[in-house]
Amino acid sequence: MIESARAVRRAVLKMAYAGRTPHVGSALSCVDLLVALYFAVLRLDPARPDDANRDRLILSKGHGCMALYAVLAERGFFPKSLLNEYAQDGGRLAEHPGPRCMPGVELATGSLGHGLSVGVGLAMAARLSRRQSRVFVLLSDGECNEGSVWEAAMFAPSQRLDNLVAIVDYNKWSAMGRTEVMLEPLAQKWRAFGWLTVEIDGHDLKAITDVLSFIPSEPGRPTAIIAHTVKGKGVSFMENNLEWHYRPPDEDDLEKALREIGCRRTGSVGDMGSEG
């Protein structure tokens, strides 16, 4: 999984460079969560992306989708060469994921505060049809400012949806500043709403896998994971630096960043298919 996470970070950096797009920091902060989910937790088969019994992951923080695209490609949902279409004119991979824009993309997102409610609906559908599938919703911390998140948070425990997991990518930054000011005490809020709430290091692949391997973790209760993360994780000059919420890496940045994550730049910059 460590190698997969490295490959995904490499793809994210190259996509941001080639697509000249922002949100590199947001994508890097959720890479490890997504890698653990797709490689060790989610019950799904890349060859059968529409299987009704699959687990579902909703990336409610749609702006982090470079990481999702890269993880899906790494997991074999579609060829890595398709990552070259990211943010290109006429390409299928937009800066926020479109509806089923690629096999494995479950929901179009981009505006914050939508994914958890849809996840509740999917979890209800799974239960109504007696399917074992589980629903994981990855939210950003800034997203938890949205009232609709708390509408869903209030409702899910009343339905005893133990097949539902909310994961907050708590990197402590929103678009304009620090998030703790408004969010803390965040874990207590989820607990008070009735969720089984666990705080973990969102970059510790083993910790993520361990806690998510036992869903449902308590009969009749949804699970909330407060994943403490670092925005821009893996690239020192991007970590905890809000500039990388906006600025695409230039050639120099890319070179330096790839070196830091332990990849050499080979082939053309846009060549996602080759090994780093």
């Binding site: 009704a52 179009a108 409610s117 849809v118 609906g121 999917l122 209800m124 109504l128 609709s148 409702f155």
Partner: protein
């Protein structure tokens, strides 16, 4: 229309086990029977419309056919982005049910009036807008959703809406119904203005003006074939709706006319571009906006008589201004 809706939905749920009913804490007692018959398929999600629409989208993407019910302005405007993104963009077959179209909740005031909902819903891609004209159409509309592949906004009246149809007409989404043939002009109504259109036609018949009355229950997509037919036969078209004159049925027909039959004249009856600062029941509020059979008939007559003389055509020359 509320009772007709739940009657239709109960029949539908019996046939189709994918039907699930969500409510935003509205519909006291009327859903009891449905809840008893279909356990697990009725959920009160509480006073949280945005959450309700997101949940409905999730249910739809998970293989169900959810109906999300609340008062029309709440279930369209409060959660507009959820409708646009979760439902329309993700192509989730959700039926959004707005009870209380127009001034149905009159005395509750402008917070409860639905006068922009058609305009807003109509602007959304992948959205079909259906406004039944009476309880008969409301029940048929619910049944018709079964074979409709996408999202629908179903705009109902409230309770005690007048009945326009004597029998059960053939009802198809996107296909308007002509209730009464006419020579001189077409009154095209949507929603609960349908009985008003019939009453207007009755008054005008007494003045020797013959009006075709159409139920354009589907505002999106418009029945273009029927509009073409109206344009071929009439110089004057009137739209009647309990909705703002901006962007509703009148707006939709105006857009269509401008692109297809510009020489035809259109007059839109609807609510003014204003909030009402008086209290009143639906009938009173309609009066303030000129939405009664008497006032509509008066204005219709004036406009028909103001038409310039034409040597040939379907309209009766006896009614023209030269008379």
């Amino acid at each position: 229309m509320r009772n007709a809706f739940i009657r239709g939905l109960t029949a539908l749920a019996q046939e189709d086990e994918r039907v699930v009913l969500l409510t935003g804490d509205l519909g006291f007692k009327i859903f009891d029977d449905f809840a008893r018959r279909f356990p697990g398929r009725f959920v009160n999600v509480g006073v949280a419309e945005a959450n309700m629409i997101g949940i409905a989208a999730g249910l739809a993407l998970g293989g169900y056919r959810p109906f999300a019910y609340s008062i029309a302005p709440f279930v369209t405007l409060r959660c507009l982005e959820q409708i646009r993104n979760d439902v329309c963009y993700n192509r989730a077959p959700v039926t959004i049910v707005g009870v209380g179209g127009g001034y149905s909740y009159g005395p509750n005031g402008p917070t409860h009036h639905a006068l922009e909902d058609i305009a807003v819903m109509r602007a959304l891609p992948n959205m079909t807008v259906v406004c039944p004209g009476d309880p008969v159409e409301a029940e048929l509309a619910v049944l018709a959703t079964r074979f409709h592949p996408g999202a629908i906004y179903l705009r109902l009246g409230r309770a005690g809406d007048a009945v326009a149809h004597a029998g059960r007409p053939e009802f198809r989404i996107g296909r308007a119904i002509t209730l009464r043939p006419g020579r001189d002009c077409a009154l095209i109504a949507t929603g609960a203005m349908l009985p008003v259109a019939l009453a207007t036609a009755e008054i005008l018949a007494g003045k020797d003006v013959s009006c075709r009355v159409v139920s354009m229950h589907t505002v999106k997509p418009l029945d273009q074939a029927l509009l073409r037919e109206c344009c071929a036969e009439h110089e004057l078209l009137f739209t009647l709706e309990e909705h703002s004159k901006i962007g509703g049925l009148g707006g939709a027909v105006a857009e269509w006319l401008a692109a297809n039959f510009a020489p035809r004249r259109l007059h839109c009856f609807g609510a003014g571009d204003e909030f009402l600062h008086v209290s009143g029941r639906q009938s009173y509020l309609r009066e303030t906006q000129g939405l009664t059979p008497g006032k509509i008939a008066e204005e219709t007559l004036r406009l028909i008589r103001s038409l310039p003389a034409r040597t040939s055509g379907a309209s009766s020359s006896a009614l023209r201004g030269e008379r």
